[in-house]
Amino acid sequence: MKPAPFEYHAPAGVDDVCSLLGSLEDAKILAGGQSLIPLLNFRLARPQHLVDINRIANLDRIYERDGGVAVQALARQAAVEDSELVARICPLLSAALGFVAHRVIRNRGTVCGSLAHADAASELPAVLLALGGNVVVRSSRGERTIPAGELFAGVFETTLAPDEVMVEAWFPALGEPFAILEESRRHGDFALAGVVRAGSRLALFGVAPTPVLADPSDPASGLQPSGDLEATPEFRIHLVRVLTERAFAA
């Protein structure tokens, strides 16, 4: 379980990242690495180039912007979890981070990395979607903002172009009731099914190729979850209904 060979790049600035991504074939961005490096070790991912963004200075800020909180690409999940600003403006995000793996993983993992990895069973994409947040991505061609509703394209797939890097995620403030509930096999595991309530909005995770918005009164409508060792499609639909009911009962 050792990574296959790759060429390693450690650019010092976002512009350098952009030019590398624009010129290299088969490059992968390395941020926290808590999902990517296991894939490298299993040799399930074997990119030719690894672009490590951890050397970039001043890309780890968590700050208030436009009535919400912005989390930059290198802000570690643990720092966001501990942030008083986040707790005040967007306590749903603070709460959600407690479900993300374990503290030691969160010490290294990044919020933007979770969003870019786009694991449909993970919490943060669903939180961004429920809140109606967005992400800021950059390339040599310029910068653009992608709303959460347009970010997630499929299984482990986003609408970022191969030459784009996510530099920031923005979570709008939420003053309304919120909840995040999930069923996972062990504490910290990916969810068999999970729901995020942000006011009257509901996002589901673990039950479709991407996180999805759903109608709280009929959350399983149109869902066609896949089955695996720990949950059949029927069980996932059942859990979505139970968890939604509980999220809105509070």
């Binding site: 379980m1 050792k2 296959a4 096999r185 062990r186 720990e230 949950a231 069980f235 859990l239």
Partner: protein, 778 residues
């Protein structure tokens, strides 16, 4: 004052270096060793058409690539460890497969390179052309013989065994009530945190092979390697250094690497090391637990069992290197602590296209306990009786020992319980469990078990008092975390009247002690513990004899106290043990230590030669202990659980254990064994399942998907101990290593069944499984 170490909660002497990061596990040993990687079969059953290693051999950093054709022992079947007359069709794999592979993960080629990175790169380039064959995966499919795993084994049946006590058919016919039940246990895995590893060095100058191996049996590895490589045993050293957990699979031998690494080291003239990674551990290391039981139980209206018939299939996997120990244990342990006047058990050990099986902590017993306890729960429910009451009416009573169950045991004898008090275990557990917590969907579970421990044939120990007065002791069996260095020191310190800190124990190093069997079957305390006791007592006797001459006293009037041999109760008529050690050797080359103290006695002349007939130099002795039969530990677990009726999340509200393993050497260590065992049991009951698909592929070969519980999944465990000494050995001890795990499946099943009101007949469970069972019920 004499301090008695036996029974005291002595803090472990092995901790300091482990806590500082100074432990020495096999992969920690470097010395410039080359590193290796296997090429393993991706198919569960396939014919090998060809193997092309040319590209791999040309990779930079690659030193050697071996296939079966490159090995002098490539055509040999690996040993069948424990033959048995009923194992009529035993089969073992070859070191490297060259014709047919029978499980995904079977070794096909072996790459040796500068480091593991290069070895993995090269292994990818070994081109093996496979012709896939049809597979049988489940025990049911194996028994149906949908396909054959071995062409020459009809029906896939490796072994069949039928035993009967009493007259089951007659008793069943006359029983007021009868019920047929089916129970199923799926495969699990021991998953020690350290995988397996082997390091070897060949010294051409000394003609000596040195092997470090994360094994539970270095003495057996040594014996086997000596024969294989044509070396005297004295030229082969095998050391199990610190071993990061074993739990059974590391007693299996020989795994292919245990031959290939020493072979490569001898061929290449350089140290060679292979360290397993977690992914290959899941398929390359033996597994356990797959069994299907068809049970019929006959009982009366009071809940007494009149007859029990069990016909079960044991999933043996692709080969039977470990014989049929597992189904023999299951068959012997189904009756457990209960009087079953008429008992018939038949098993078939069948081949399947999956990793071979051999003991994993519990070793056939969790399934046996599950069968019996689930049957009793059924009887209670059928009769509307309290589950504890049904057990009370069937338990063997305290005055019925020794109790002969009448069926075969793994040591070749029959199952005979030596001592115990099972009713007392039950009553105490119920007392500790207390009243049921309030709330809906709360269930109580209960399970009582016995465990045959301390099987022979023997272990030995060497104990020596150094001229410094310090004591060294050695035994052949290694520790995988059971605190041997502490508990053996306690046993020895008591006999020699020294401080436990002055006894340094070596275990699992054939350079220090070359005879013995291994650490398995909860046998260490009984076999090696008593051997330590025997050897230390021999040393004490010798010390008294030597001191008696000097003190002009009768040896029988002497005692060993506080590091001295003295006249009983006397404060001044004594001699330091260190000085006795000096006197024990007629050559006075020692300096320091006890030498000065000994000189004052040197004036006492002896007649005759310095060593009299039968005398040996040195204050040392080697002793052995060979148990006359197994010692039978026992226990009762009880629990309350709550299950969310909609998400099926399990919450264990309370878990109590009452345990009796005879006399307790170290309660701190014992508590750790029980707590750890229960946690593994909970893992096996609700989290851990090896999920093979229809093609024989293990679908959850990682810690992300094979769900070992974290702390968040394991509740606090409340434990109480009784001590019913074993009459079979001087220390009165019984084994404890596997106890914690045995009844947990039965207890959790019983509790969940009550909490949700759905019948449970299988292990392991999961939220999904409970969801599906609850859907069926609707």
């Amino acid at each position: 004052m004499t301090t008695r170490w036996f029974g005291a909660p002595v803090q472990r002497v092995e901790d300091d270096r482990l806590l500082r990061g100074h432990g020495r596990f096999t992969d920690d040993i470097g010395e410039g060793a080359l590193e290796c990687c296997f090429v393993r079969s991706p198919y569960a059953h396939a014919r090998i058409r060809s193997i092309d290693t040319s590209a791999a051999r040309e990779m930079p950093g690659v030193v050697a690539v071996y296939t079966a054709a490159d090995l002098p022992f490539g055509g040999l079947d690996l040993p069948l460890l424990i033959p048995h007359p009923n194992l009529t069709h035993g089969r073992t794999q070859r070191c490297l497969a060259s014709e047919i592979v029978r499980y995904a993960g079977e070794a096909v080629a072996f790459v040796v390179a500068a480091d593991r990175y290069a070895a993995e790169d090269a292994a990818e380039l070994v081109a093996v052309d496979y012709d896939p064959l049809p597979v049988v995966v489940t025990p049911e499919a194996g028994a149906r013989a949908d396909h054959l795993v071995h062409d020459d084994v009809p029906g896939n049946v490796a072994a069949e065994m039928l035993q009967e006590v009493g007259d089951v058919d007659a008793a069943m016919r006359s029983a007021p009530r009868r019920k047929q039940l089916r129970f199923r246990y799926e495969r699990g895995a021991a998953s020690p945190m350290e995988g397996r590893a082997v390091w070897a060095r060949w010294s051409a100058a000394e003609h000596k092979l040195t092997v470090y191996d994360s094994t539970q049996s270095p003495t057996s590895i040594r014996g086997g390697l000596a024969v294989l490589f044509g070396l005297p045993e004295s030229n082969v050293e095998v050391i199990a250094p610190d071993v990061g957990g074993g739990f059974g699979p590391k007693i299996m031998l020989f795994y292919p690497d245990e031959l290939l690494v020493p072979f490569a080291a001898m061929q290449l003239g350089r140290p060679v090391k292979w360290t397993e990674d977690r992914q290959e551990h899941f398929t390359a290391v033996n597994q356990e637990r797959g069994q299907v039981h068809e049970v019929e139980v006959g009982f009366d209206d009071s809940g007494r069992v009149l007859a029990l018939s069990d016909d079960f299939v044991h999933d043996g996997g692709a080969y039977t290197p470990y014989g049929i120990i597992l189904p023999i244990i299951t068959a012997g342990q189904v009756p457990g602590p209960y009087r079953i006047p008429n008992y018939r058990v038949r098993f078939r050990d069948v081949y399947t296209n999956a990793t071979p099986t051999s003991p994993y902590r519990g070793a056939g017993r969790p399934h046996a306990c599950f069968v019996m306890e689930r049957s009793l729960d059924f009887i209670a429910s059928e009769l509307g009786l309290d589950r504890a009451e049904v057990r009370r009416r069937n338990l063997i009573q305290a005055d019925q020992f020794p109790y002969d169950v009448g069926v075969a045991w793994q040591d070749g004898n029959t199952v005979v319980y030596d001592s115990g008090d099972y009713p007392r275990l039950l009553e105490r557990a119920l007392e500790m469990l207390g009243p049921k917590p309030p709330g809906d969907h709360v269930g109580m579970g209960l399970g009582i078990y016995v465990e045959g421990t301390g099987v022979g044939p023997y272990e030995g120990a060497h104990v020596q008092v150094l001229v410094s007065g310090k004591v060294v002791a050695a035994t052949g069996i290694p520790s995988q975390g059971q605190a041997h260095a502490t508990v053996w020191a306690q046993v020895v310190a008591d006999e020699l009247g020294v401080d436990v800190k002055d006894v340094v124990v070596s275990s699992g190093d054939t350079r220090r002690f070359s005879w013995g069997v291994g650490t398995f079957a909860s046998r260490g305390a009984v076999t090696a513990g008593n051997a330590m006791h025997v050897a230390a007592r021999m040393v004490a006797t010798k010390a008294k004899q030597i001191a008696a001459e000097q003190l002009e006293a009768n040896p029988d009037d002497l005692e060993l106290v506080g590091g001295r041999v003295r006249v009983k109760g006397s404060t001044d008529r004594g001699i330091p043990l260190a000085a006795v050690a000096v006197l024990s050797n007629p050559v006075r080359y020692a300096f320091g230590g006890g030498t000065e103290a000994a000189t004052q006695f040197a004036s006492k002349p002896r007649s005759g030669p310095p060593l009299h007939g039968g005398e040996e130099p040195g204050l040392e002795a080697t002793g052995y202990y060979s148990p006359p039969g197994s010692t039978w530990a026992s226990g009762c677990h009880a629990a309350y659980v709550r299950v969310d009726p909609r998400t099926f999340r399990l919450e264990i509200l309370k878990y109590v254990v009452v345990h009796d393993c005879g006399r307790v050497i170290n309660p701190l260590v014992l508590q750790g064994q029980i707590e750890g065992g229960v946690a593994q049991g909970i893992g096996g009951a609700f989290y851990e399942r090896l999920a093979y698909d229809a093609d024989g592929q293990l679908r959850n070969a990682s810690f992300m998907e094979f769900l070992i519980p974290y702390a968040t999944e394991i509740p606090p465990i409340e434990i109480d101990h009784f001590e019913t000494p074993s009459p079979l050995n001087p220390l009165g001890v019984k084994g404890a290593g596997e106890a914690g795990v045995i009844p947990v499946g039965a207890v959790i099943a019983s509790a969940i069944e009550e909490a949700l009101g759905i019948p449970i007949a299988e292990m392991p469970l999961s939220p999904l499984k409970l969801f599906e069972l609850s859907m069926l019920k609707r």
